[in-house]
């Protein structure tokens, strides 16, 4: 018998004027010791399933039907005190953001001990001993000393380890990990996922891994359930799903991944539209409206989740891979992507850029006690019309470079030259007053969170007209026409001008952000993590749009992201940053497929690939440890503390950026992974 059996679970959330049918007949099973991955876009019910099992539903949420059986006991009808015995005891849970789910005023030792004292009836000394034990189990260095630390004293990765320790303290039979690595860097993500997998094997518990990332699923789950609009649409074991997805939604999720299209550099497949409104779900296949194969039957009848011989279940009338399909997929004659043109002039030349942020102490006197070295001597050039991708972990200085280019920060030293190659261009760091204000037209910024970057009290029309009004471009009438044209270009209806930013979906807001960045017809757009907060299908829409607009307007992008696969898809040149230094730079494919710097190698390895065979066959270890403090960066090569190849010279001498191929591939390393070919 399975450890957890969810039968036909229905969960509603009552709002003041309507009811959201968040889960509609979800059936899942989790066996002892296995990892079940739940994957889908945001809002499709993944987290709601986890919360229903734990009965930690948001206000207004309640289970209206179905059963949840844990280890042979039906817990659907359990009382609150009965549920308290289940939570943290039989079922442990790890949440997405360890900072908000830990109590900032309690030491982590006491927080972990709390659940032991509640469930195991242990004394406080015994509970603390157990806390130290589980902290050691989750790989926290010096666990006894960490017991007295507060959450803010730990790094993000260590906090997530503490959260996992808390969930494991009472040896649960089932661990529910809800997007456990989404808030973490990709190098830390790999460490945490490996930890969860290792603990599962050692403690013999089952794991439900909720994630939006197919790559994470590929490497860690035994079986997968794909959810869409409050229903499970496909479920089978991981290798079958990845090799042979049957539901069109699953297939579409795969095709929207940038790595799928990177080889041919074709347009990404993006799922049109949005998931249905769950207050009144359509009485038919819920995916029909967005499905490219949908036939009339899909819009009137609801397909059941049926299994084939191998236990592969899917809810579709016309599953992928059968001849019954009615829709004909159009293969696109795609114009080639924008390749770097060596003859093209340099639009942006950054030389020896340095930026440090002072660290002060004391409330009144503000003594300067150190400097966070955010950017330490970075140089690169960007040609007109190309996309320069900047990658690295958070805290590596990539965002600071973006802010320096658009002028939100002033550089300590170094130059940012913009414009014609022959005259050397204008140094943006030297501009003051009116010139500087006028120059803003040429360089615009696209924010990660478009919602936060738009005044919530302004209508979209006003938001989009604001850059034109500030720069006094055209009359009011002309400005209005420009706004209409911009909306059309980013694929939004003209009626959007009357709306407020909060009325749009995440993807639509990102379109608005792009429209605003385009308003002044800039030559260069710095895009800071523009797709990081988006679902994979929406991400594909935005990436496609960015490429279309680049072609039409001959735009140049500086594309900042922590996601190497997205950067690789969009960029012609990639720069890899580590702790304020550019450690490797070169043509995108070269950097990705034949990295020279050990850090780049580690980054490439840590990216979860949506292919179980590749993902499980990985032999490289990724990047160990965590980013050192930028207040006192390591001497010599800044990466040496985490580098598997580091030698004595790395601590003494800083490696210069030297060329490795004639094609402009350069890296800063004493012990490169391959010899220079120049």
């Amino acid at each position: 018998m399975a450890l957890l059996e969810i039968e036909d679970l229905r969960t509603d959330i009552r709002l003041s004027r309507s009811t959201v049918h968040a889960l509609d007949g979800v059936s899942l099973t989790v066996d002892r010791g296995e990892t079940l991955g739940i994957v889908g876009e945001s809002g499709c019910g993944k987290t709601m399933t986890a919360l229903s099992v734990m009965r930690l539903l948001p206000p207004g949420g309640h289970i209206v039907g179905g059963t949840v059986t844990l280890d042979g006991t039906d817990i659907t009808g359990a009382t609150d005190s009965g549920m308290r015995r289940v939570r943290g005891n039989e079922v442990g849970m790890v949440f997405q953001d360890p900072m908000t789910s830990l109590n900032p005023t309690m030491t982590i030792g006491r927080q972990i001990a709390e659940s032991v004292r509640l469930h195991r009836d242990a004394g406080s000394a015994a509970a603390m001993r157990r806390a130290a034990e589980v902290l050691g189990l989750v790989g926290m260095p010096y666990p006894e000393q960490r017991l007295g630390d507060y959450p803010h004293q730990l790094s993000g990765g260590m906090r997530q380890r503490a959260m996992i320790a808390m969930a494991l303290a009472c040896e649960p039979k089932l661990l529910i990990a809800d997007e456990p690595t989404t808030a973490l860097d990709v190098t830390i993500q790999k460490q945490i996922l490996e930890l969860i997998d290792d603990l599962r094997a050692r403690l013999g518990m089952a794991v439900i891994l909720v994630t939006h990332d197919l790559g994470v699923i590929a490497g860690n789950a035994d079986r997968v359930a794909v959810m869409y609009a409050g229903k499970v649409v496909e479920t089978t074991d991981t290798s079958t799903l990845f090799a042979n997805p049957r539901h069109p939604y699953t297939e579409a999720l795969f095709e929207a991944l940038p790595e799928t299209s990177v080889a041919e550099r074709t347009r990404l497949y993006s799922i049109p539209g949005l998931p249905p409104d769950l207050t009144e779900p359509p009485p038919a296949c819920r995916f029909a409206a967005r499905c490219r194969y949908a036939a009339d039957r899909c819009r009137t009848d609801e397909p059941d989740l049926l299994g084939d011989v191998a236990g592969h279940e899917y809810a579709c009338f016309f599953p992928v891979g059968t001849a019954e399909r009615t829709g004909v997929a159009v293969s696109a004659a795609e114009p080639p992507s924008v390749a770097p043109d060596p003859d093209e002039e340099h639009l942006l030349r950054v030389e020896n850029l340095v930026k440090g942020f002072p660290v002060t102490a004391g409330a009144v006197l503000q003594r300067r006690i150190g400097t966070v070295s955010a950017v330490a001597g970075v140089s690169f050039t960007v040609r007109r019309g190309e996309t320069f991708g900047l990658v690295g972990e958070s805290g590596c200085g990539k965002t600071t470079i973006g802010r320096l280019i658009v002028g939100l920060e002033t550089a300590d030293s170094g130059t940012i030259r913009f414009g014609d190659g022959t005259g050397g261009g204008t140094d943006l760091t030297r501009l003051r007053g009116r010139d500087r204000r006028r120059r803003r037209r040429d360089v615009q910024l696209m924010f990660q969170d478009s919602y936060a970057s738009m005044d919530p009290r302004m209508r979209v029309g006003t938001v989009l007209r604001e850059p034109l009004a500030i720069q006094r471009v055209g009359s009011r009438d002309e400005q209005r026409r420009t706004v209409a044209r911009l909306l059309d270009e980013v694929g939004l209806p003209a009626a959007a001008v009357e709306r407020y930013p909060h009325e749009f979906s995440g993807g639509q807001r990102q379109r608005l952000g792009l429209a605003r960045a385009l308003a002044l017809q800039p030559a260069l757009i710095v895009a800071d993590e523009p797709v990081s907060a988006l679902d994979v299908s929406i991400q594909a829409q935005i990436l496609n749009l960015m490429r279309d607009l680049q072609r039409e307007h001959r735009l140049t992008y500086v594309f900042i992201s922590h996601d190497l696969s997205v950067v690789r898809y969009l960029s012609s040149t990639i720069g890899v940053m580590y702790l304020g230094k550019l450690v490797e730079i070169g043509p995108a494919e070269d950097v990705y497929t034949a990295p020279v710097h050990p850090y780049t190698r580690g980054l490439v390895d840590t990216i979860p690939v949506a292919d179980p065979r590749v993902e499980r066959a990985k032999v490289h270890q990724g990047v160990a440890g965590e980013l050192p403090s930028a207040i006192s960066p390591p001497s010599g090569c800044r990466f040496r503390t985490r580098c598997p190849l580091a030698g004595d010279i790395c601590a003494e001498e800083e490696p210069p950026l030297r060329p490795f191929t004639a094609g402009g591939h350069a890296a800063a390393c004493h012990f490169p992974l391959r010899a220079p070919q120049v």
């Binding site: 997929a329 959007a496 709306r499 279309d548």
Partner: protein, 315 residues
């Protein structure tokens, strides 16, 4: 992905190839278009207490400003022959006070100066405090330090003491009272708005304006002040209540508007002399009026806080 080779499908709804020309690729937007004001009004009207508050305030406004046009009384000439009549006496439904003025009519004109001073002082204090706080918070650094130390210094003077000195020097007309009350009550608003501005100036939409080349004036007037409007309006309603209470206190001490003008505080002050003789109609009506108006403004302030919260508003 191996068994099922991905083909470079073109998203049919992308630009260019639109199956349904009415739906742009970014997706349609649903629901009727309505302004922030209408939506705010919806949230506001859901709060029962706020409706009660509005009804009370409107009732008092009518009572004080329209009432005297219907109910004529002589509030200028004392008439000691009719002094201290109990309620129900001919022509005097609420009785008369120690000088023979009709109590009901006096409540009307007394409320007039109380409301006028309260509202005008609150408006003046709010405008001044908002601008001061927004500029200090947005500019920051030395400017902020100097501006806020001025506020701190002014706050360190006890308000009642300052009022007593000022009303002793100046003749306390309605105009003077408004200015003086505003002068002491803008300080709190300034501190509050500065705090808001400090958090608003690092918001991404303020940075976005800087990237477009926008200057400080635009940022303060177009972005910081409007986004602090929830806090400001809520504070303003509390300021009205506070100002009414302050003039009540002043009048009670005998430093309010000079006769023949009157306000509720002065009426209450005179009435308390007759506590022991049982002339309740000289105490309860002005006292109740003060309490009702102050509570009503506080209810309204509470509901406004919700109404200005954009996220609470639905389509």
């Amino acid at each position: 992905m191996t068994a099922n080779t991905p083909s470079p499908f073109l998203d049919p709804s992308e630009r260019g190839v639109q199956p349904d020309a009415a739906t742009p690729s970014g997706g349609a937007i649903q629901g009727p278009t309505r302004g922030l004001f209408r939506r705010g009004l919806d949230v506001f009207t859901e709060n029962r207490l706020a409706i009660v508050g509005v009804v009370i305030v409107v009732a008092f406004l009518l009572f004080c400003f329209v009432g005297p046009l219907i109910y004529h009384t002589d509030q200028v000439h004392t008439n000691l022959g009719d002094a201290e009549l109990a309620p129900g006496a001919a022509g005097h439904p609420l009785g008369t006070d120690q000088d023979g003025f009709d109590q009901l009519g006096r409540l009307m004109i007394g409320g007039r100066s109380s409301l006028e001073v309260g509202v005008a002082a609150a408006v003046l204090a709010t405008v001044l405090g908002t601008l001061w706080g927004a500029v200090a918070g947005y500019v920051g650094g030395v400017v902020d330090a100097v501006m806020m130390r001025i506020v701190d210094a002014a706050m360190s003077v006890p308000a009642l003491f300052l009022l007593l000195v000022l009303s002793a020097i100046l003749t306390p007309t309605v105009g003077v009272l408004i200015v003086v009350l505003a002068m002491i009550s803008w300080l709190g608003t300034a501190r509050l708005v500065r705090g808001e501005a400090l958090s608003l100036r690092v918001r991404e939409y303020v940075q976005a304006v800087k990237v477009m080349g926008g200057g400080g004036t635009r940022i303060v007037l177009r972005h910081i002040a409007p986004n602090a409007v929830g806090t400001i309006m809520v504070n303003a309603t509390f300021q009205v209540a506070d100002a009414i209470l302050t003039i009540v206190a002043l009048s009670y001490l005998g430093l309010g508007v000079p006769p023949p003008a009157v306000d509720w505080g002065a009426m209450l002050s005179h009435g308390t002399q007759y506590v022991y003789v049982g002339y309740w109609w000289l105490i309860y009506p002005p006292g109740l009026a003060i309490i009702l108006v102050v509570i009503a403004f506080n209810f309204i302030g509470d509901a406004l806080r919700d109404a200005f919260e954009v996220r609470l508003q639905r389509r």
